[in-house]
Assembly symmetry: C2
Homo-oligomer: 311 residues x 2
């Protein structure tokens, strides 16, 4: 049987599509690789690879579309897109390096908090030698998907006391796990809260005043999931009232973070520009090609998304 | 046989001795706990616990001394002390939490470098959203004692490529190990150099211009061992010539770091005041009491120091 190559369309509104085109084109399974916007005839395209948001009118040009993949771990941009017919398979990138990079970024933020690095850096400017004591921290990880599980496991191995929260109860070695029925117990023990939840209607705005109030006084927030999880004003109020001691934020409702957003100059907030974990084309392409062979072989695709759950 | 209690003298010139006195006094194996300086009769003291430096004249007051322990991991302050008779057993604290805290501090420094945190924090002040790319880093760990081995193992588990160096070749899972005969090969591959060597006559001033020159261009230095390892001016020259990209320093020749030391205001140097890993009395006391029982039972002490090697 002759192997029929798969034509691909890439729609990436933020990232440079060139490394993706080059990497994919090297495979003998790949036919034409188109980049949106294009005037070309797209009627043979079976696979659409998207980084957000999906431009309007793309789907209308793809009568033969069988499979859509996000180019990152997130699929919220595809879940809420009414253009996409519900029968199309949607997958995402579950990249082992994504978990590694996310985990290591969170550990950095956790340690910068534990070791009072902002204070030490301020002291250095004034040539002040002041040994600040530190203590072990209880870390609460919200969201125990691939990223949250990887993080929890590594934190345990580094000697942190770890609590995990997910909608339905999970079991993880060395981690005390909670679910919706006992979320308050989870929060009341948490000294550093790491948000790695998926974005769903249920988790939007979940990081709000009422949740912050349930955390230990002096708790620290690390948000590396999505900006939509966080009610920014509630965070600033919790910081100003000294109920929370600080926050490391990598994701925001509007990105780039608008210049007039008050988070920029809040003294207890550290901002990074959505760099906690970035898919590198080379590692993601290997995963896309694996699924492409499965598509052609009529095998089940890997890392598909459950539309009902939204992740 | 009636259990004879052990009298102890604590000589701690920097730290508050009270938590040590309180913790040790709770044990039924401990007799009188004296704190230097004191007028008391010390002729029954068999154990001396020291944090550096050992005050002059202490040893002369202890005719019955049998065992000296450092209150930290370092023993360089005892090795070079001519007061101490060579037949006395010298031990140090090998505290599992010391290794944990040291490892986690180094990971923080490594990640802050990989993720350009100083740049991100500068950008935040100017409200600049600039995504800086990062790449995997090759980490070279100098010194493969208890701390270096613990660090190397955790770095491998977090996905770093790790090279190890020690005077005599060690074997560590997942770590490419080098010794004196091929140190240059070790250095030439190293992008982040972590110093965890013991202080000996051979390692004093080891971090000098000639060593820096052998590192990859753009390499980063993390010194968490001792200030005497580092030739400060050579480091500043290597930074100014852009051969090295930065340094995180926790230890210094003179501590507290004098106000006129140029490291304080070097833009590529981050300074912390010897806080990478601090022995907590509660964890160290358990180890001291274990050795105290061994002393009384005439069993070999744990974590003794080899005077010839100096560590």
């Amino acid at each position: 049987m002759d192997q029929q190559k798969v034509d691909i369309l890439i729609s990436s509104s933020v990232w440079d599509p060139r490394p993706w085109v080059e990497g994919l084109s090297k495979s003998s399974w790949v036919g034409n690789v188109h980049v949106w916007p294009t005037e070309a005839d797209l009627s043979n395209v079976e696979a659409l690879f998207v980084w957000k948001p999906l431009a309007d009118g793309v789907i209308d040009r793809l009568p033969n579309i069988k499979w859509i993949s996000s180019l990152g771990a997130g699929v919220d941009h595809l879940m809420t897109d009414s253009q996409i017919p519900r029968h199309i398979s949607i997958t995402r990138i579950v990249d082992p390096f994504l978990a590694r990079d996310m985990t290591n970024y969170v550990i950095m933020g956790l340690m910068m908090h534990q070791r009072s690095m902002l204070s030490h850096m301020k002291h250095q400017k004034s040539k002040i030698w002041e040994r600040i004591t530190y203590k072990p921290l209880k870390v609460g990880v919200m969201g125990l998907g691939a990223l949250g599980r990887h993080l929890s496991e590594k934190l345990v191995s580094l000697g942190f006391e770890v609590f995990g929260y997910s909608r339905t109860r999970k079991t993880l070695d060395g981690v005390t796990c909670y679910d919706e029925t006992n979320r308050n117990t989870f929060l009341s023990q948490t000294e550093v809260l790491v948000n790695l939840l998926p974005v769903t209607p249920q988790t939007t705005d979940i990081l709000d005043a009422s949740l912050f109030q349930k955390l230990t006084k002096g708790a620290f927030l690390i948000n590396v999931a999505r900006g939509n999880h966080l009610v920014e004003n509630d965070l600033m109020e919790a910081l100003d009232s000294e109920h929370l001691s600080g926050a490391l934020l990598d994701v925001f409702r509007d990105e780039p973070l608008p210049i007039n957003n008050l988070l920029w100059e809040h003294p207890k907030v550290t901002i990074t520009p959505h760099v906690a974990s970035v898919t590198t084309p080379s590692s993601a392409i290997a995963l896309l090609l694996d699924n492409l062979k499965r598509l052609r072989g009529k095998e089940p695709l890997l890392h598909t998304v459950d539309i009902r759950k939204g992740y």
